[in-house]
């Protein structure tokens, strides 16, 4: 029983962690809380659904959805936010613009494809669960943890070991100093938008697979949860987002298993309130991208 809850928690938590990673990176480098981020999650799930309904295997549908979500993110960022950034608009302006745009996008998506729950085609991932010690884990769940782990490791690798990652970290702290070193901060922003959109899209696919339920507003719920995760981990803190994502996934599973699944979605927020009350800068201290 405990083992099963821990497995469920790690599976959900790894998808949360991946989603939060992109969210916190958006904030850390672009310095805005971009609420359209949740939309890329929904978009990713639908794009993968679309691809699989047209016969694509999930190994193809997942990268397709991630890349397409990345391009959507680049487009929306440049359409909605680049002008505000140039004008150095107050943070609240970009927050409201992304809020408005997100609601519009969700409504548009619902109008286009309906609000009923849609499911991936049966047998997408061969699903005889592995059993051991009374617990079970499905191939889908293993794939979710592995994909989330690989993508998170890949992103951290980009941040740590590449020239673009160096530019992202420098920009996160001081875009002007970055420009003076020859970093084209506009181009780096587009790369950050792409990476974050792709990560949100991929986590949308993974959560869609785990629940096997896709709805237009799934990104909204997730964005709220992701918000809790990144505040818990410290805004802009990549390592913090990973740990906090796993933590909330585990807490939710344990709550559902031992208390009641009614409290499942609330427990993360309870943790958020308690943490901020005790540690206003998040579990791990001040916000930064230095844990990258």
């Amino acid at each position: 029983m405990l083992l099963q809850q821990i497995i469920n928690g790690i599976v959900a938590g790894s998808a949360y962690a991946l989603f939060a990673l992109g969210f916190t990176l958006t904030f850390g480098v672009l310095k805005i809380v971009n609420l359209t981020y949740g939309f890329y999650f929904s978009a990713g799930a639908y794009l993968a659904l679309f691809a699989t309904l047209h016969g694509a295997p999930i190994t193809l549908a997942l990268p397709f959805a991630a890349i397409a979500a990345g391009f959507i993110a680049v487009f929306l960022d440049s359409a909605l936010l680049s002008r505000l950034r140039r004008q150095q608009a107050p943070e609240l302006a970009s927050l409201m613009v992304t809020l408005g745009a997100t609601l519009f996008l969700y409504t548009g998506m619902t109008a286009l494809i309906g609000s009923e729950i849609q499911r991936f085609p049966l047998g997408l991932i061969e699903s005889a669960p592995f059993r051991f010690n009374g617990a079970s884990i499905s191939l889908t769940q293993i794939a979710i943890v592995m994909t989330a782990g690989l993508l998170a490791a890949g992103l951290i690798g980009v941040l740590r070991a590449t020239r673009t990652g160096l530019a992202m970290r420098a920009m996160a702290e001081n875009p002007q100093a970055g420009e003076l070193m020859g970093i084209d901060t506009g181009a780096i922003m587009r790369r950050v938008s792409f990476l974050c959109g792709a990560i949100a899209g991929a986590s949308g696919v993974l959560i869609g697979l785990e629940h096997n339920a896709i709805t237009p507003y799934m990104g909204e719920t997730m964005a709220l949860k992701g918000f809790a995760v990144i505040i818990l981990g410290g805004l802009g803190d990549v390592g913090g987002a990973l740990i906090a994502g796993l933590l909330i996934g585990l807490l939710e599973a344990l709550t559902a298993g031992y208390i009641s699944s009614i409290y499942k979605d609330a427990v993360g927020f309870l943790l958020l309130v308690l943490t901020l009350w005790a540690r206003p800068f998040g579990l791990f201290g001040r916000a930064s991208v230095r844990r990258a």
């Binding site: 020239r163 160096l166 702290e173 100093a177 970055g178 901060t185 230095r290």
Partner: protein
């Protein structure tokens, strides 16, 4: 005129409706150090920020090696060989000293070139060598200033803009920084230096400009300005 590396004409810059720099003409010759001196708030930093592309010009032109660069993005100006070590150092506090140096060489063509420049920078600033893995924000003020200059040198610039390298440093550290600048001058580096420490700046520079309320009040060979009555009364405490 080929020995003029940087030439600004009619440089006019403002914030909002307020003009902070009006109609400034200045030139930096290849292999020389030019300095801007003047009181706090005279517009010296604003001039540097406009030259390196961080601020838009209201009017005027800036030529670097004969090419017009006014109002180009800062990263494009950096790519043409200008490195600006800005006011307040602006090192990346959360990154290690080594990563700060690597970021300074962002436009370097190859890894071999980066390590060549790094060796040269560390030979010039041996203190940084001991601090390579430390977080830059934890360095002392003097070390941070060294890192700011070293990072600008990592770009292998044809023209170096230095904004108040002595600011907030203890006298011994100021001496050390100025002796490093003197070495760089003897090696033929071209530098535009902004300083409040007018004595030290005039002793080092070839050409000097005195800025007052956003305009050039006086200009000439630095050694002439040391003896100039107006300059010594206003800036040299004499």
């Amino acid at each position: 005129m080929t020995d003029i590396m940087l030439e600004a004409r009619g440089l006019t810059v403002g914030y909002g409706d307020k003009l902070v720099v009006r109609n400034v003409d200045l030139a930096v010759r290849r292999g020389e150090i030019a300095c801007l001196i003047g009181a706090n708030g005279a517009g010296k930093t604003t001039i540097l920020r406009a030259l390196s592309g961080l601020l838009k010009l209201r009017a005027g032109s800036v030529r670097l090696n004969g090419e017009e660069i006014a109002n180009r993005p800062a990263h494009a100006i950096a790519a043409r060989g200008m490195a600006h070590a800005p006011e307040g150092r602006q090192i990346i506090a959360a990154m290690s000293v080594a990563d700060n140096l690597r970021a300074g060489a962002y436009l370097a063509p190859s890894a071999a070139e980066i390590s060549r420049r790094r060796d040269a920078a560390l030979a010039r600033f041996p203190r940084l060598k001991e601090r390579l893995t430390q977080q830059a924000g934890l360095l002392s003020g003097g070390e941070q200033q060294m890192l700011a200059i070293a990072r600008a040198l990592m770009a292998d610039p044809t023209l170096l803009l230095l904004d108040e390298p002595s600011m907030g440093l203890a006298p011994l550290m100021v001496e050390e920084i100025f002796s490093i600048l003197a070495t760089m001058k003897s090696e033929g580096r071209t530098i535009l230096l902004v300083e409040q420490n007018a004595n030290a700046a005039l002793a080092l520079a070839d050409q000097a400009y005195v800025i007052e309320a956003g305009r050039i009040k006086l200009e000439g060979p630095a050694r002439d300005l040391i003896d100039h009555d107006g300059v010594s009364a206003a800036y040299l405490g004499g």
